[in-house]
Subunit: 427 residues, 2 copies
């Protein structure tokens, strides 16, 4: 995707709460808040720099705890205006942190095993968290159309959020996407445009559109609004810690697509420590990929600092990014915290989806199968300590990836009488 | 379904919190708490009688408000032990009450329009509320297998809840159910048994099983555990009122399948009034059906007190009960409160699903299309007052009934370039 470096309609007076500026992750160069995502000095990724200096720890904790049961309880830590909770939006987040005692028994975890179940979000994936930030950025910059390229969860999240917020939406997808996924994206009534080409063609076209006058009132959630959008993943860190009684878990297992979610969760944990909301204690972050798209896992195991792109071939389509932008940062974080990056086969993904459903009644998307499967593998190979606490992320809903477990079926077929019931051994 | 009148393993010492006895809705005959559902005197339906006499209004309100963000905040008003929230269960409820301002504008509602969105429950339908009560009753009565007959939402809710609670589950479905629905029910790893026959055959078989020794350790959530199970719907009333700031809305639109949900919501509102938790003010309850299965609507319009069974033929399959057990009670409530019962065509159901998605970003199951469609119709025919508040229930998730809106698709297909984009009129 082409890199946009012109700080076009930047307005430093824009009100996005504690967000003070954009700062380059590579060289630290700062620019005013605006719809830009790459550093004009070094082309590194821009991210939000905050001013949290005015916060008193205990006052902040009380303010958060008195807040709404959604991500906006953390508005003081996000790039959103203070009155965000009063505006029409999807109010995602504050999803369940399930104490998974049955799964813990099966995996031999004695230190406490938890599943952060983001299938409870409004469109049933974690994407609602990030899109909600992009909506506020779009409002702040005066954009009237919310857009993205997508092959799945993001399309629905953008369509729904735009509908609620009263923005136009225009989502671009490959024209030959499966009918079920088209319906899930089209139902919200925004424009859904099929592009004659593959997902790479869709992305190239979106880059072209951003640089053109036709796209000047358009906010692409994960392109020109990406610095804002990405911050939404921090809320997973905040919620997990608050739900554990303001405590960082010992170990976290996080899926890797672009790697952004994992890096922002680490950022969120670091912020909580600096703000004094949690004790500064060691934690390990583990990244999870599917073997069929495992560029970060391969780089981790080879001891590399760079990530070599792969051509994805896995049922875990929501994680199938072959050239993950934040891959090097993921490697840094896994190594710095003493974690690791691991991958599992598609067969292991399916087994893990069934394991989680059978033990905890949670029907996860393939991405959840990846994290549960990787957790099992990391326990088996000794990298996760089962005597310490583990939080595993499930970022999506099994209803969206039914095909992956299509083989699951009836345990018996009987005639409608007791004899047939007994013959089947069901009594 | 055969009526079971023998109070078999009744144990009056069972701890189900404030539940004091079972009481016949028709003749008032009381029996101790047990796994029975029909009055031994008159065959009327048994329901829970509570002892709320010890509660102080303001203490109770504080206790509820300090409770967990799920139905167990209302444990003092439900047939569950006081420590229910500490046991492994799905913790459903406390779903969003969405202030639907965009939909209100389209429908001309000025008094406040809200959607109670139960797609946010763990298995994405209101069934999680009722099954959670049945799990506690099963535990109290020593049942080790949780069972039901189902063609949809209930199967998933039972499978998930049993998995979490560590109970065996055995769900009976027609053997020729669509593969997607089989997967949604089978994924939780319980026994899923196909019955060679239609849904009526499945129900007849379940009745036979309940009367047999083979079924003696089995809790059928909506048969021998029905009095407990049904109480879960009261939590919808509690949540709506608390989320409105302890206020009863002027008008509620509720779907009708068996009619149980509507009658229990009315029961919940009456309890809140008696307990002093809300002001005693008039409210109107409206029942919603699909035209293709509208026995209660037909009876309402004809001025009848009894409901003549219909053979269902509608896309709203989760509401397709042709002989609704609580139909007469629904008629009573609609008439007593000054409400009504109305129905809409399948085409109107689809239009309403799209309307809700387009305006509020909520993708409802067909049952939600029925309530939104009926709301629109009742406003148009003057029975709902648009100057007063309205709460509309969405009881399920659109991802489960994708077929109903399968026609929804791309708004345009273009080549991956700006010329094609402009030609399509998208700029």
């Amino acid at each position: 995707m082409a890199v946009q470096t012109v700080a076009s309609t930047t307005d430093s007076a824009v009100d996005l709460g504690p967000a003070a500026a954009l700062s380059c992750r590579e060289c630290g160069h700062r620019v005013p808040l605006g719809p830009v995502f790459a550093c004009e000095e070094c082309f590194g990724p821009l991210e939000i720099a905050y001013d949290f200096s005015a916060y008193d720890t205990e006052e902040l904790r009380k303010r958060i705890e008195a807040g709404p049961a959604n991500i906006w309880r953390y508005a003081p830590l996000l790039p959103v205006p203070a009155d965000v909770a009063t505006k029409p939006n999807m109010n995602p987040g504050w999803t369940k942190l399930v104490k998974a005692d049955n799964l813990a028994r099966e995996l031999g975890v004695t230190g406490g095993l938890y599943v952060k179940d983001d299938s409870g979000n409004p469109t049933h994936s974690f994407k609602d968290r990030v899109v909600a930030q992009a909506v506020e950025a779009a409002r702040a910059f005066g954009y009237t159309t919310l857009s993205c390229s997508s092959t799945g969860n993001l399309a629905g999240a953008v369509g729904a959020a735009a509908a609620r917020a009263g923005l136009r939406s225009c989502v671009f997808i490959p024209h030959d996407l499966e009918q079920g996924k088209v319906v899930m994206a089209a139902i919200y009534g925004g424009e859904l445009v099929g592009i004659e080409g593959n997902y790479d063609d869709v992305n190239r076209f979106c880059s072209e559109l951003i640089g053109d006058s036709a796209g000047e009132s358009w906010g692409f959630v994960n392109v020109n609004l990406r610095p804002y959008y990405a911050e939404g993943s921090k809320t997973l860190a905040y919620e997990i810690c608050e739900q554990l009684g303001w405590r960082i878990p010992d170990q976290l297992v996080i899926p890797i697509a672009s790697g952004s979610q994992l890096t922002k969760i680490d950022k969120g944990l670091q912020e909580l420590i600096k703000l004094g909301l949690v004790e500064d204690r060691p934690y390990k972050i583990f990244g999870a990929q599917a073997e069929g798209c495992s560029p970060v896992s391969v780089a981790y195991k080879a001891g590399h600092d760079v990530v070599r792109p792969q051509k994805p071939n896995t049922i875990a389509k929501s994680l199938a990014i072959g050239n993950p932008a934040d891959g090097p940062y993921v490697l840094d974080i896994a190594r710095r915290t003493g974690g690791a990056v691991e991958d599992v086969t598609d067969e292991q993904v399916v087994d893990a989806i069934k394991l989680l459903a059978r033990t905890e009644g949670i029907f996860a998307e393939t991405a959840g199968g990846v994290t549960v499967g990787v957790t099992k593998k990391l326990i088996e190979n000794g990298l996760i300590d089962p005597a310490k606490s583990v939080v595993v992320l499930n970022t999506g809903d099994g209803l969206k990836t039914l095909d992956a477990v299509a083989g699951t079926g009836l345990t018996a077929t009987i005639r409608p009488n007791l004899e047939s019931f007994r013959e089947a051994g069901l009594a």
